[in-house]
Amino acid sequence: MTSGPETILEVNALKTVFHTRGGEIHAVNSVDFSLKRGELLGVVGESGSGKSVTMMSLIGLLPSPPAEIREGRVIFGGRNILGLSERELRTLRGRDIGFVFQDPMTSLNPVFTVGYQLMEPLREHMGLSRRQAAARAADLLDLVGIPDARQRLSDYPHQFSGGMRQRVMIAIALACDPKILIADEPTTALDVTIQAQILELIRKIRNQLGMAIIWITHDLGVIAGIADRVVVMYGGQIVEQATVAKLFAEPRHPYTQALLQTIPSLRGARNHRLNSIPGQPPILAFAPSACPFMPRCTHAFDRCANENPARWDLDESHDVACFLASNNGASSHV
């Protein structure tokens, strides 16, 4: 893991558990990753792989109880932000780290105007007056491509379409010029044409403002089009990390390989069924003592059941948590 001066976020051995009636759920297990200035990091994984929980753990957005961040360090701005008080965390949220959530239909408060909700972080973090905040809010709506920005400030969320609401959410997340934007499946709830528009918007904003972005998704197609680097999560841990080109060209973890197989092809014969990965994702009731993918893996052998593989550097931009890759690079070409 490189941590040069251009690294703005570094996560080490993050471990989050949920306390439930049925015992502990180990949602995030020893996750390490870093984010460079201006980089777009894609986080891929199926539902329940711990993508969102990892990101919400970073800035204390998980309700506690039931959530508990058990271990780890999150270095941001030269300090470990996991140890911060609620008050200090609050000044980070919305100012340094912006969040966009999955469902724009429910993520905005229905009884306040869009302008009010957009001006809230501006007045809270930047200490702007009402008039200044209104002017900046209009600029932000303009930036995210909402026509008649000034008039629309006094509209309520239900007067916007789904795509427009997600633009509003993005404007809120960008309000205070954050250093990091975390987008948690921002296009999942939208239809495909709107999805493309939002992706285009993010690309444009990134070029314009240059912040680092963490993009959580289960859609590999989206990742291929937008990300610089990808981490693949499974069972609450990172199983593979690579640049986007390398991940698609040379996936090394059996899970990543299987995941890439599931993408339907537009070319070739149409008469075969869609690929899926047999089996179910693990229920994380115990701290992992085996490879979490072992039950579904076609290459599993004895060692996988007794030991959880650590991440193994293949080169400086590619690592994978699999014994096949760590023992002998050639054996993973299946």
């Binding site: 919305g94 912006g98 969040f99 229905p110």
Partner: protein
């Protein structure tokens, strides 16, 4: 909104006429005799003449029509005359008269109204003031000791009848401790600090018995509504923006949670006017509830008919208010 309000108001006219007719029919079908409370020495033929003089010899549609004229035309004209000092016609109009007391029903109601509004209305206000913070805290700290205690108290407040809590309070605070009077003195007039203090003391027990009951209901509503909203996505958005926790709770969540609760509170107001029949009996508050009970016991049909109809008007009216409040509080609802 204005259009909608006017349309709804116009629509209430046939509804209320229908209600008044149904009430009239039901009272007529009820087995009662307005002369039943008179001494047994009165011979049957005299009783029959008393009934005739009360108008019971007329067929039902005539009696209903006469009540309608008295209530919808004569009474409003009287009030109008009193307010404006003008004279309409001879001023000699038949009013709705109580059979038992021979005094106009409207005057009786006006006489009883203040006691009921003070005691029952105050208990409603106190109940709301207690219930909303309890509901908010119980939801925010769900399953905490505060929430458990709140759940227990509201279960008790809701399920133990007021004639029990009322008598219990009289036994403890009037009989044993002698802090408060056990009988509400309606004739008491507040003229100075001392008489004001007496008024407060005699109100404490009936108000707290009823407030406990109201608070139990409303706090559960408040709690459920808060819980509904606390788990909404927009709460997470507000936190992710770095909004202070009190603002998240008391601006974002409370504003949304109050929408259904305000409606419930508005719908409960007619019950305040209806008086708390049982509690008024326990503490001898001679309010509207007690008036209604006496009217029913004495088969005082004009009194019961008029009171019941006024309650119906209030219920219909506050239903409309609740609907309009919904439209004001929730920007997603627009009435066309």
């Amino acid at each position: 909104m204005l259009n909608y309000t006017i349309r709804r108001l116009l629509f209430t006219i046939p509804v209320l006429l229908f209600i008044s007719f149904i009430v009239f029919l039901l009272l007529d079908l009820a087995p009662n005799d307005p002369t039943g409370n008179l001494p047994l020495t009165i011979p049957p033929d005299v009783r029959e003449r008393i009934r005739q003089s009360l108008g019971l010899g007329e067929p039902i549609h005539v009696r209903y029509f006469l009540w309608c004229v008295q209530f919808f035309v004569n009474e409003p004209l009287n009030i109008l005359e009193q307010w404006t000092g003008l004279q309409f016609g001879s001023g000699d109009r038949l009013r709705v008269q109580s059979w038992a007391t021979r005094s106009p029903v409207v005057d009786l109601i006006v006489e009883r109204m203040p006691q009921t509004l003070w005691v029952v209305g105050m208990s409603y206000v106190v109940g709301i003031i207690i219930a909303i913070p309890i509901g908010v805290i119980s939801a925010y700290r769900q399953y905490s000791w505060f929430d458990q205690a709140g759940t227990f108290v509201s279960m008790v407040g809701f399920s133990v009848p007021t004639f029990f809590t009322g008598v219990l309070m009289i036994v403890v605070f009037s009989v044993h401790l002698d802090w408060f009077p056990s009988i509400y003195d309606t004739t008491h007039r507040v003229t100075d600090w001392q008489s004001f203090w007496f008024q407060v003391r005699q109100m404490i027990m009936p108000v707290s018995v009823l407030a406990l009951f109201n608070a139990a209901q409303i706090s559960r509503f408040m709690r459920a509504s808060m819980l509904d909203n606390l788990s909404q996505d927009y709460v997470r958005t507000a936190r992710a923006k770095g909004v202070r926790e009190p603002v998240v709770l008391l601006v974002h969540v409370l504003r949304n949670s109050l929408i259904p609760v305000v409606t419930v509170i508005a719908l409960g107001i007619p019950q305040v006017f209806g008086g708390a029949i049982i509690t008024e009996q326990v503490f001898k508050v001679n309010g509207l509830g007690q008036l209604l009970i006496i009217g029913i016991q004495g088969a005082d049909i004009p009194l019961v008919q008029t009171l019941t109809f006024i309650f119906a008007v209030l219920i219909v009216f506050f239903n409309l208010i609740a609907d309009l409040l919904y439209g004001i509080l929730d920007p997603r609802i627009r009435y066309e």
